[in-house]
């Protein structure tokens, strides 16, 4: 994954666990500060080893860490650094979800080697949608949960999110979320 993702994970760990603990985790994962350059594409093992070490040191499950990471990515990376582009892709929670594919496709065109996720938003009934997340990677569902909750929080909407089904395959993973709008905050 691109360094901008590592950067965000580093930021999350620093904020939640403290600078000293972060340095311990980074060193234990065999990394140094130069492994976090936003425009450089790194092997996925960097994220995995960071999460693995953080799990061992803090006792928190990988899914909990991924969830926090997703939430953190929305507020501290996406809207902090890409506000213009994000705003353009949706003025509401739903509009942005609808345009996520469009946006990631654009990222793909300027970031060589990038493997974007894919999202499909299907209306089911009034105020209820299904969001189908497909990825060539496995194990990031909790990250997407964090992203969605982070987005809902950003747009001040209350959304109930459940997993309808979750399939692992050779191609990666596909998760179907059911999203129900419960109102605004």
């Amino acid at each position: 994954m691109y360094g901008l993702i590592h950067n965000s994970l580093r930021d999350m760990m620093r904020t939640r666990l403290g600078d000293d603990e972060w340095v311990e985790i980074m060193l234990a994962a065999g990394l140094s500060e130069k492994d976090f350059l936003s425009l450089k594409s790194y092997d996925d093992s960097v994220v995995l080893s960071l999460l693995g070490v953080a799990h061992t040191r803090t006792g928190r499950s990988i899914d909990e860490l991924l969830y926090d990471f997703g939430w953190h990515f929305i507020s501290r990376t996406a809207f902090a650094h890409y506000a213009g582009v994000l705003n353009m892709h949706g003025e509401s929670f739903w509009e942005l979800l609808d345009n996520l594919n469009h946006m990631h496709d654009r990222i793909a065109s300027s970031f060589p080697g990038y493997r974007p996720p894919s999202f499909q938003l299907l209306p089911i009934e009034e105020n209820t949608y299904e969001l189908i997340y497909s990825s060539s990677r496995q194990g990031l569902t909790a990250f997407v949960r964090g992203l969605l909750d982070g987005l809902a929080d950003y747009f001040s909407v209350v959304v109930e999110i459940t997993v309808v089904h979750d399939t692992l395959s050779d191609q990666g993973q596909q998760t179907c979320f059911r999203l129900t709008a419960l109102g605004t905050k």
Binding site: L37, S38, H81, G84, N87, S109, S110
Partner: protein, 535 residues
């Protein structure tokens, strides 16, 4: 109305407008109407918008001639900026179409909070990608700046740590020197008191070992001063040939012991007077010649001196070459021979211990004088050729005072020399007596004060670091005797550091003489402070 390009255009270019034959705005696409409304309808294009580019558009009678140009234009209320291009008119049709995209960078710069719909961008328009890329690039710049800041912090810490280390070495060397001086002097004194030859031999060993140790400590101290930039240059006029002769004088005994001849070759055109840091050049040459004698296996040593002009400048440099015919230094080791502690040849068991800093000091001194130093093969291929060059100013008329070149110079008066080192005292005494001075010696501050109180010396030469009471304290007390209020009291110190030398003058000394002082510096000091005569 007939759309010139059919309804499909909206899906490729959501924003466009159509101009009639007079270039009035005749039609705006649906998506463009959502962005800017349709109040511009019927306006001339150039007055309906603020047209930034092409500049010619406002002056040209017919903008349709500019159909290969990029149009940049903004609504009059400054709410929406666009990029556009005119399509060439279709044959038989007076209308022309302008294809438009939002001008993203302008909008980001000036109307950041205004919502922009992705629906207004053609799918193939790369502006959004560019925006994403630029945002990420900004993050990358931040990453780099953070790395640079980390690097800076690490460098600062390393520099501080290095400073602390130098201060520590400095301090420890100073502290070691005082008791060691005591041992050296005591061993000398005991030697004169004893008759048992075995004990005398042991005492000689103690004396020699502690002197060697003192030498090493002095070198460490000097190296730490030089590497922390505490040493300043002291330029003066000197005769380079005389400088070489002085070095030869000093090394003659060592050469004799090793059964070696030293040859000195001085280029004919070598000037009689140049200006540079003579003392430091003297040190460097002495060190290299000493090394050559030690490593030349009984064959002769050749010293060459010449004047060279520095390429592409009007400046000149003195080039010194020291050739020996020892085992030589393998090419692979040459680059590290000037590094501290680079011991290439293990010292023989019976040879004197060294600090491993000799050549490192030499290199630092040469570089301090903006010179260069190196080692190459000798013309014969045997041994090594060390060379160094130092930029100098050539003095056209030799302005060295004639009295300096005068071995028959005499001084009058009596002098008190104070040093806790017996050998220093004796050597200095001999030297001063040669010039006709009456000399009293004191090996402690207390004794010096006592002698000064009862005598009227024309000059006092005072060691700084002495056990019990140091030279500075002693001088303060001596200055209280009325006869010494203005008399020359010279600080005699091994600290060549100029800042320290100045601090001595501030603290009550009249001048500073740096140890070891050669004949010439002694003579110069005396000329400055005492009446002299020739004869």
């Amino acid at each position: 109305m007939n759309l010139p390009h059919g309804p499909g255009l909206d899906s490729v270019f959501p924003l466009y407008l159509v101009l009639d034959k007079e270039n009035r705005i005749k039609f705006v696409s649906d998506q463009l109407r959502r962005e800017i409304g349709n109040s511009c309808l019927g306006e001339y294009f150039v007055s309906g918008f603020i047209v930034k580019r092409p500049v010619l558009a406002v002056q040209m009678p017919d903008i349709r001639l500019l159909n290969r140009q990029l149009f940049l234009f903004i609504t009059h209320d400054g709410d929406f900026a666009m990029r556009g291009q005119l399509l060439p008119p279709s044959p038989g049709d007076d209308d022309i179409t302008m294809l438009i995209t939002p001008w993203l960078t302008w909008m980001q710069e000036n109307r950041l909070s205004r919502p922009l719909s992705p629906k207004s961008f053609p799918v193939a328009d790369a502006q959004l990608e560019l925006q994403l890329y630029l945002n990420t690039q900004q993050m990358m710049i931040d990453d780099m700046n953070n790395l640079l800041a980390d690097l800076q912090t690490a460098t600062d810490q390393a520099i501080t740590a290095n400073k602390v280390k130098s201060q520590f070495v400095n301090h420890i060397s100073h502290e070691l020197r005082t008791p060691l001086n005591g041992i050296v002097s005591a061993a000398e004194l005991i030697k004169t008191e004893i008759v048992n030859p075995q004990v005398e031999q042991l005492i000689t060993v103690i004396g020699k070992s502690s002197e060697a140790l003192l030498g090493i400590i002095n070198q460490i101290l000097y190296f730490s001063q030089i590497s922390s930039g505490k040493v300043n240059l002291a330029s003066k006029e000197f005769d380079p040939a005389q400088l070489c002769a002085d070095v030869l004088d000093i090394t003659r005994l060592l050469a004799h012991e090793n059964n070696i001849q030293i040859q000195l070759q001085i280029e004919h055109s070598l000037p009689e007077s140049v200006t540079a840091d003579a003392l430091r050049i003297h040190n460097v040459l002495l060190n290299l010649v000493g090394n050559a004698i030690k490593h030349c296996n009984g064959a002769d040593v050749l010293i060459k001196v010449s004047l060279n002009s520095i390429p592409e400048t009007s400046k000149t440099s003195l080039l010194f070459e020291i050739q020996d015919s020892g085992p030589g230094v393998p090419i692979a080791d040459r680059h590290r021979i000037f590094e501290p502690f680079a011991t290439l040849n293990k010292p023989k068991n019976n040879s004197a211990p060294t600090s491993g800093l000799g050549l490192a000091i030499v290199k630092s001194e040469v570089e301090l004088m903006s010179g260069h130093i190196g080692i190459t093969d000798t013309p014969s291929g045997k041994g090594s050729l060390f060379w160094f060059d130092i930029p100098v100013t050539v003095n056209v008329t030799a302005s060295i005072p004639p009295s300096q070149d005068n071995s028959q110079i005499r001084f009058s008066g009596s002098v008190l020399i104070v040093d806790d080192n017996e050998i220093n005292l004796r050597l200095c005494m001999l030297q001063l007596q040669k010039w006709g001075l009456h000399v009293d010696a004191a090996e402690s501050a207390a004794k010096a004060i006592e002698l000064a109180r009862h005598n009227q010396y024309q000059l006092i030469l005072m060691d700084i670091q002495m056990p019990e009471m140091d030279g500075q304290q002693a001088t303060r007390l001596i200055r209280q005797f009325p006869q010494y209020r203005d008399a020359p009291v010279i600080a005699w110190t091994a600290n060549a550091c100029e800042i320290e030398a100045k601090s001595y003058v501030i603290s009550g000394f009249s001048d500073t003489l740096v140890k070891p002082a050669n004949n010439q510096s002694f003579r110069n000091m005396l000329i400055k402070w005492l009446p002299a005569s020739h004869g």
